[in-house]
């Protein structure tokens, strides 16, 4: 048990020190996340429509959290391939479950920090009044959807194991597709009909739908001064789907990673390139 805790800590230790050494880039990425979110939210402000602003703010905030989480997990393997250290991680007597749990934990902490920065920034830019939002409900939805997104991150982390060059590209294509189909900034029904079924299999779709209800978006009782955030019971449907997705994606992502690792060891794909 003590050894497992140390191994989990190893990934937090590594992540912290890498973040510290690349602090300039961390500031740049957070600045960029804040600016792109504010740019989107200001479209609502320009329209003088607080409901539109709120829709965009919730979209920007949640997308930052979920995409950061997914991206950090997936890219952590890509970073290891670029540095050439993946072989040493795979050679260490650490189980893949502990390895990926440690990586996911650090990614989660990172995404929480970025989300707080974006939230504070958005409040400064939009002057939104968040009284009445069911924040507890939002946290519950985020906690449940985190499982599904960690699972997706593990799936995406498989790509850099398969190919050092193409893996990171595939990870970003997958992330872009999620942004397109999940209704982050617009309702899903504006998508072409042939794309709409894909939104049903994206966990982000349900996270956004639930959080918008909990923020009071689209609720006729909401006013600019007081938002009528829905109770948690109003998002039971979304929560159940997210929990089911998490229960499937998390073990499946781990399984896929272990299988691809074995495949890479059979075909010699782990060898450092570049």
């Amino acid at each position: 048990m003590e050894a497992t805790l140390r191994q989990t800590w190893a990934f937090l230790f590594r992540g912290w020190h890498i973040t510290r050494r690349y602090i300039g880039w961390v500031v740049v990425f957070n600045f960029y996340a804040l600016v792109t979110s504010a740019t989107v939210a200001l479209i609502g402000v320009a329209q003088g429509n607080y409901q539109l602003t709120l829709t965009l703010v919730v979209g920007a905030l949640l997308w930052n959290y979920l995409s950061w989480l997914y991206n950090e997990i997936a890219m952590s393997i890509a970073y290891e391939r670029w540095e050439g250290t993946l072989e040493y991680t795979f050679m260490a007597p650490v189980s893949r479950a502990v390895h990926l749990f440690g990586v996911s934990l650090f990614s989660l902490l990172n995404s929480i920090v970025t989300s707080i920065i974006v939230l504070v920034g958005l409040m400064l830019f939009t002057n939104l009044n968040l009284r009445g939002v069911n924040f507890f409900g939002v946290l519950v939805v985020l906690a449940v959807s985190t499982m599904a997104f960690v699972g997706l991150g593990l799936f995406a982390a498989v790509f850099p194991v398969m190919s050092a060059e193409r893996g990171a590209e595939a990870t970003h294509i997958f992330q872009g597709s999620l942004l397109l189909v999940s209704g982050v900034y617009y309702p899903i029904d504006v998508l072409p009909g042939w794309l709409q079924p894909l939104s049903a299999i994206s966990p982000a779709t349900y996270t956004l739908s639930a959080c918008r209800k909990l923020f009071g978006v689209g609720n006729s009782n909401s006013t600019p001064e007081y938002l009528a955030g829905a109770p948690l019971s109003a998002v039971t449907h979304e929560l159940l789907i997210l929990a089911l997705m998490g229960a499937i994606l998390l073990p499946l992502g781990l399984f896929a990673f272990v299988r691809i690792e074995a495949w890479a060891k059979k075909t010699g794909k782990l060898k450092r390139t570049g």
């Binding site: 140390r6 020190h17 050494r21 050439g84 040493y88 050679m91 260490a92």
Partner: protein, 265 residues
């Protein structure tokens, strides 16, 4: 009778290579290789680039799964008991792979934690090893990217040894090092072997290094182990005056391809 540290029997590993559209060919990286390394022995594998040395080390390091054959390391078989094997091996590869922005200390502490070790104890051991390798303590906090290749390789050796492995797999650990660093590493390995009885499997291009460090040497060429014995036995077998000549006679290949390219370039 003491069991061997490493037993390799009829090991084979091939890679598929694409030759144009829809055409694939099979390249044998390891072709029916068998050898045994006794506990506490330093065994050398000599061969030119592409002879299968690194593939062999990667199989023993659990990073590559062989097509067929038998591998046993201190009673543990691969790939079935790879989780257990990982606890008893340390590996140094020709490319010292680290988080280059992190300091030597941070890289080594990360490894210690990854192996579930007490970070402070592991740090003390790493400092001892680095001091023996002739590295100043002050360099411990320097980012790896600011270090010479020789220094990075010394950190790599400390990383492999700080977990106290009974089996050390060294894949061309001195390639590209300056003469002083090369001598420091060789001296350290000699002391390590005599003091702690660590079993060492060493691949190298360097004949003098193999003669100095290895009790027995195997010649690898095109994935096959073509000869094996002490340096003296190999020279006698080939009727050659030097190990270099013995290698050329027994394998039909030059060993120092890299140096030749440099001269021509």
């Amino acid at each position: 009778m003491q069991q061997p540290a490493i037993q390799v029997r009829n090991l084979r590993k091939s890679f598929r290579k694409r030759n144009g559209f829809r055409k694939k060919s099979e390249l044998w990286a390891i072709d029916n290789v068998s050898f045994t390394v006794g506990q506490g022995e330093t065994y050398g594998l000599l061969g030119p680039n592409g002879s299968g040395k690194s593939s062999l080390i990667r199989v023993l390091s659990t990073l590559l799964i062989a097509d067929s054959g038998y591998v046993n390391m201190l009673g543990l078989t691969l790939p079935e008991q790879q989780d257990e094997v990982r606890k008893i091996i340390g590996r140094v590869s020709v490319d010292a792979a680290f988080y280059k922005k992190l300091s030597a200390r941070e890289n080594l502490l990360y490894t210690a934690l990854l192996y579930g070790q007490n970070a402070r104890q592991a740090e003390r051991r790493a400092i001892e090893i680095l001091e023996q390798l002739g590295m100043e303590n002050a360099k411990f906090s320097t980012p790896l990217e600011e270090m010479s290749r020789g220094m990075q390789q010394k950190i790599s050796i400390a990383r492999a040894l700080m977990i106290n492995p009974p089996l050390l797999l060294l894949d061309e650990p001195t390639t590209g090092l300056d003469p002083k660093s090369r001598r420091d590493v060789q001296l350290f390995l000699e002391k390590l072997q005599s003091r702690e009885g660590t079993t060492i499997l060493l691949t190298t291009h360097d004949m003098a290094e193999a003669e100095r460090l290895c009790v027995r040497i195997g010649f690898l060429a095109k994935g096959k182990l073509v000869a094996e014995g002490t340096a003296m036995q190999l020279m006698q077998h080939a009727g050659a005056a030097t190990l270099d000549d013995a290698f050329i006679k027994l394998t039909g290949e030059e060993l120092v391809e890299e140096e030749m390219v440099l001269v021509e370039g």
